[in-house]
């Protein structure tokens, strides 16, 4: 099932398919270890459509909701 990262539930894993944003966001996410093919675990989701907290390669990253919507993933 192909969806965006913001709709993955807490404690669920997903595999990155592509990043639909522009150059800047692709590079930025790449630097934090988020590339197509990487496995992401969603750990927390803040209230009021706030950011999500993910774990990738043993590292925690907070992504704003708008950013998470640009990460296309395959849910496990």
């Amino acid at each position: 099932m192909i969806i965006t990262l913001d709709s993955i539930g807490e404690n669920k894993k997903a595999k990155v398919v592509s990043i639909s944003g522009g150059w800047g966001i692709r590079q930025r996410l790449g630097c934090l270890g988020i590339h197509p093919g990487d496995i992401i675990t969603v750990k927390k989701s803040a209230i009021m459509r706030g950011p999500i907290l993910i774990s990738v390669h043993g590292n925690q990253v907070a992504l704003g909701r708008g950013v998470a919507r640009k990460v296309v993933v395959e849910a496990e």
């Binding site: 907290l53 390669h57 992504l63």
Partner: protein
Amino acid sequence: MKIALMGQPNSGKSTIFNHVAGYKAVTSNFPGKTVEYTSSKVNLFGEIFEIVDLPGTYSLTSFDLAELEARKYLLKGNVDVVINVIDASLLSRSLELTLQLLELKLPMVICLNMIDEAERKGIKIDVEKLSKILGVPVVPTIALKGKGVKKLFSMAYKIGEEKGIGKTINFSKDVEEVIAQLSTQIKKKQINQEFNIPERFLALKYLENDSYFMENYEEKSNNLFKKIVHFQNILEETHGRQSDVVISSERHHLSMNIYESVVTLTKPHTSLIDYMDNILMHPLFGYISLGLIFYLFFNLIFSVGKMVEEPLLDYFYRLIPLIGKSINPNTLSFSIISGIIQGLAGGIAIVLPYLFPFLFGLAILEDLGYLPRIAFLLDAFLHKIGLHGKAVIPFILGYGCTVPAIMATRILESERDRFIASVLATMIPCAARMTIIFALVAFYISPQAALAVYILNIIVIIISGKILSRLLPEVTPGMILEIPAYHIPSIKVVLAKTWLRMKEFIFIAWPLLIVGSTILSLLQYYKMDMLVNKFFSPLTSLLGLPVVVGTTLIFGILRKELSMLMLIQAIGTSNVAAAMSTTQIMTFTIFIIFYVPCVATIAVLWKEIGSKRTLFTITFTFVLAVILATITRFVY
């Protein structure tokens, strides 16, 4: 020999720097705290080294201003050795920067920092193998405890003498072919010589579509530009992705391969601190904890400050009449002496008792790694004022001092966000204004009233943020922020940082304070204060304040805490409550909090957001202060 510390944010560069240079660079547990480079000359092994602590950068393709600064410094080309500091517990990701640094062909040493933290996480690294693969020395360190730092610098010295450079790690065959062809073209045109960097590095940057190099280049010759586009297209066609994604994925794979070949994974040791996020980042308990932490923090500052302020003030104000017995109170020398004493007293008795517990507590929260968590919790709220979660970091630093807060806005990606965050940061009551809130409002009215001042301040900032983001309607780019692991703060580092920040008050503000009180004494002696007060009388009468307050407002522009201390001197008593009503105390405080930033802030604003916007900020805050203080006069 010039040694530059380069690495990803929060990898411990400043900690290593401080270990050899003394505590000069502020360290904290959040990514991106170093926004400017700090350098220091250090004598090691009988040799003078210039050590440069660069801002952290995730890659050599830079985005924010701090990262750009690091890259620019490195490309300038007069660094003898690069120490690439890596957080060993994040080895695979960190290697992506290492690979780019290797492409620069500079003498380099790798520092595997926080090796203890990596082992705790179950990551065991074969140091020798890593060194063999990359062709550069690798030194494991625990910078916080100083372990391995000496060896690191002796290795850096050796490499600098030998001018030893590492290996070039090759990408997939087809990608290498494209790189080789583009490199040849670049070499033929001698473009790389202008930048003074290896042609392979430049070729990669072109394939990555790096805007800095592309822009610099486009003006020069269109022939090569067409070729770059041609090669980018080749990569896109063969890989089915944008060429920058092809390069970054290649680097990612290489890093993963190196990581897998040098690391053995064992079972991680988890400790209580790893579970803290279950509460501190919880959708409900997270906010309750946030409120509780700040409430306790507020109480700590007040109780410590009050305990010290009362006896000290008493002591100093008994001193002045004593001097009056030996020197005639109507002479010039008495005026000068009492001015100096009042300046000294203000610093010791009024400012320091509140400043120390505040800075100490802030340092603990920073080193623990709590600030990025606040950014996570408040992101949704900050979107309501047109910013995102990361803006919390300059705001919280703003409670310490406005100058570093404005510098910290560099971690924000868009110019508009930086502008809004800078203006709002000037309105946050810094430690100087905090002492006014505590020493006047909390001390003479009540702690609840002081808390109310803080809450009112936050409400005003929210409304101003809303107004500014309406005036500049642009979508904020969205937050991408690393949340580092918690670290138990080291008491030594916390004290060193508190001292570094207090030095600013002791060596800059305090002398100013003493000079200020002496000048006021002189003005009073020659009855010149009347003129100043008369000039300000339209304002003071509008706000319903005593006319003598006029002079203090000028001093407040130099340093905010000056206005309070001058106030005490101007009204001629240390017991403010005797000369001013609670309404007047409140009005005065509200006005001081919001009106015109201090000189140091104006200077840094000028540099960061430009003259026009600085003048806007000054006018905006002045008008706001007058309106709010007038309302306070009639409502409170």
